[in-house]
């Protein structure tokens, strides 16, 4: 999603988002009432709505297709292998507002990613620390993203990673996937900031500001594989969280594939010295 501010974007439960003083925020909605409330009356500062657990509710997608406010939606699939066919419910709403699909990697997630791509929906894949089976699906998805012309919309994090390899300032995976707690602080219903994919809370609201830098620095100092990893800058130890002992062998192959594709593009573009057009702008989905 595109945010319209350089300020941190707070990811807030719907009820907390009602409060004053948040300059830029994403409201997390989990019920019809919450969704309808924000669709009817989007408050200043609302960047988009994160819709959770409602993909199967056809009535809300009828309402979302009415589209007076145009609020963008980020539809989260928590059980993609089970929910994937419900993505068809989004078709009408897509005609009137921007909709992204966020898919948490779990066995069978590829089905949801394939259908979302067929519906031309931008996709955010949250890989976490993928298992061998999940890595196989990630590899297949990357192959589709890179080489299947029928896949038109961006698939994150592949898309921004590829752009990074052409010099775009997309930040690390933490930023690309909106999981850097300094830029995208996630709050629980009681208002405590929480580190992504963990039960670690910050009651002061300040100690997460250098989290990514500190996390990477700590791993490098401990001699973890991040120290010599060629993808350190792009990854920033994303895959070493929450389990710092996770083996990155499989995910490194993903990075290599993206790099190979970037090199191929570079060669294609350079193959004619008198090319009249410039390198394509690859920063479409995550431009701030």
């Amino acid at each position: 999603m595109t945010r319209c501010t350089s300020q941190p974007v707070a990811i807030l439960p719907s009820a907390l988002a009602e409060g004053p003083g948040v300059e830029a925020f994403v409201a997390v909605v989990r019920s019809r009432d919450e969704l309808y409330r924000w669709l009817r009356d989007p408050a200043p500062g609302l960047q988009w709505l994160q819709v959770e657990g409602m993909l199967g509710d056809s009535d809300i997608w009828t309402e979302a297709a009415h589209g007076e406010s145009g609020v963008p939606l980020d539809v989260v699939l928590s059980d993609p292998a089970l929910e994937f066919s419900d993505l068809y419910r989004l078709v009408d709403a897509c005609a009137v507002r921007s909709i992204r699909v966020t898919i948490r990697v779990a066995p069978g997630f590829l089905k949801a990613a394939k259908l979302a791509a067929a519906l031309r929906l931008p996709i955010r894949i949250l890989p976490g620390q993928p298992t061998t089976q999940e890595l196989a699906e990630l590899n297949e998805l990357l192959e589709l993203y890179l080489h299947q012309p029928m896949v038109e919309a961006p698939v994150e994090f592949f898309h921004s990673l590829l752009a990074t390899m052409f010099g775009a300032d997309s930040g690390s995976l933490w930023t690309i996937l909106e999981e850097d707690p300094a830029e995208f602080p996630h709050y629980d219903p009681s208002g405590r900031a929480r580190l992504p994919r963990s039960g670690v809370f910050d009651s002061t609201g300040t100690s997460f500001r250098g989290f990514v830098e500190n996390h990477l620095k700590s791993l490098v100092e401990q001699g973890a594989e991040c120290a010599s990893c060629p993808w350190q800058r792009s990854c920033a130890a994303y895959f070493k969280w929450p389990d710092p002992t996770y083996s990155c062998e499989g995910v490194k192959r993903l990075f290599c594939k993206v790099k190979e594709a970037a090199d191929e593009i570079g060669r294609d573009l350079a193959s004619r010295a008198d090319a009249k057009t410039s390198i394509p702008n690859l920063t479409g989905s995550d431009t701030r």
Partner: protein, 409 residues
């Protein structure tokens, strides 16, 4: 207001003035009463308001629409357009006719209500479109005369051709030359046949072998690319597919929509509502309701059990068929419900023309890539390799990049 468009296939009569072999419609001497038109219009406008849709396309067809006469249409257009304007909505009218009863008396209404264009149908060779007296040959002769009269009056005419065994035997070249050279058309489309409606013995003869049909369509596609594409001949659905594969906005035909159920309905002269003209004229089990008897079209569509099958179909197909693994899912979505139902007796299966479509899509993809290459080469750029990342990136960075706009912007 949303950017969605809603379409209604409106059948003002089921009557017809010809006797085509493969017609699936139940022909009844019933016409839409002018007295009921304001009610029909109100129901449609209520639905547009409920759905926050600004624009509604009305596809007038039949039966034979021209049986209603030009003055009936002039009045109908005025009634509907005036009512729509009062409520901040707009109807856009299209006319599909067999042209047999066309006369210069139609010119004003075609110009004013239908923006100077109409759609009609003819096959090559014409074996099955027949007059009640005189058969197919007389039909062809009369239709051709009417076509030339309409064109001479400045009317833009698009023609739909339904393929049959005779078309395949004639081959793509003779087929193409008939429409472009003999008739002088620059806008026509090919449809695949299906045995809709009550079973008729003659319909068995319209079942075409998929491999033969695919071969014909690919041959026709290539011929059109070679001779017609650059010179302005529009041949559907190939033109829409080429638009798609060259990253232009494309309006693919209804058979390949993500889900036709939310995009259009059909209403017959008695007010019967169903998914499309094929369903409203042929399959009573799949009627959604009656627009005159039920006060709320939106509620009817929402509560109709018959309509649920249409809504569920694409979901079911990706769950139980092999559509999810198909390269062309994004432009097919399992194909047409009525083609499936008429062939298999259920709509919960993929379109029986699946292999035909795949052949056409593959052809369109290859031709589209060639067009892009020529465009890149002309711009002094290097040629992308087949399926290369560059091709992928050029597409991604084109106008198809998603527009994700902040809510507060």
């Amino acid at each position: 207001m949303s950017g969605r468009v809603f379409s209604v296939i409106l059948l003002p009569t089921s009557e017809c003035n010809v006797a085509c072999d493969y017609c699936f419609e139940r022909k009844e001497p019933h016409r839409l009463s002018a007295a009921l038109l304001p009610l029909l219009t109100r129901r449609l406008l209520d639905h547009l308001e409920n759905e926050r849709i600004e624009e509604c396309e009305i596809y007038w067809q039949g039966g034979e629409a021209m049986i209603m006469g030009p003055s009936w249409f002039a009045d109908a257009g005025e009634i509907m357009d005036r009512a729509a304007a009062k409520r901040g909505r707009r109807f856009i009218h299209y006319l599909q006719t067999n042209l047999i009863s066309y006369s210069p008396a139609w010119n004003d209404v075609i110009r004013d209500m239908f923006d100077g264009s109409l759609g009609t149908s003819m096959d090559y060779p014409n074996l099955h479109r027949k007059l009640f007296k005189g058969g197919a040959e007389a039909y062809t002769e009369l239709w051709t005369r009417r076509l030339h009269e309409a064109k001479a009056a400045g009317i833009r005419v698009g023609v739909i051709a339904v393929l049959h065994r005779g078309s395949l035997e004639a081959g793509p070249e003779r087929f193409y030359r008939y429409f472009t050279e003999e008739l002088g058309l620059t806008d026509f489309q090919v449809n695949t046949p299906f045995p809709g409606g009550p079973a008729k013995e003659v319909e068995g003869g319209f079942q075409l072998d998929s491999a033969e049909l695919a071969s014909f369509l690919v041959g026709l596609f290539n011929l059109w690319i070679a001779e017609g594409y650059a010179s302005g001949v529009s041949l559907g659905p190939f033109d829409a597919l080429i638009d798609h594969f060259t990253a232009k906005p494309a309006r693919l035909p209804c058979i390949w929509k993500e889900n036709c159920s939310n995009q259009f309905i059909s209403v017959d002269s008695k007010g019967t509502v169903a998914q499309c003209d094929c369903w409203v004229t042929s399959y009573p089990d799949y009627f959604f309701g009656n627009i005159f008897r039920e006060p709320d079209l939106t509620q009817m569509l929402k509560s109709s059990r018959a309509r649920q099958d249409f809504i569920q179909r694409p979901k079911r197909l990706v769950e139980v068929e092999d559509c999810l693994s198909c390269r062309y899912l994004s432009i097919c979505h399992g194909g047409c419900p009525v083609r499936t139902y008429s062939a298999l007796g259920t709509m919960m299966a993929k379109d029986p023309y699946c292999e035909v479509y795949k052949a056409v899509f593959a052809c369109a993809e290859a031709r589209g890539r060639e067009i892009l290459r020529r465009g890149l080469a002309a711009a002094g750029n290097s040629e992308p390799r087949d399926g290369s990342a560059l091709h992928r990136m050029v597409r991604t960075s084109s106008s198809r990049s998603p527009n994700v706009t902040p809510a507060s912007a």
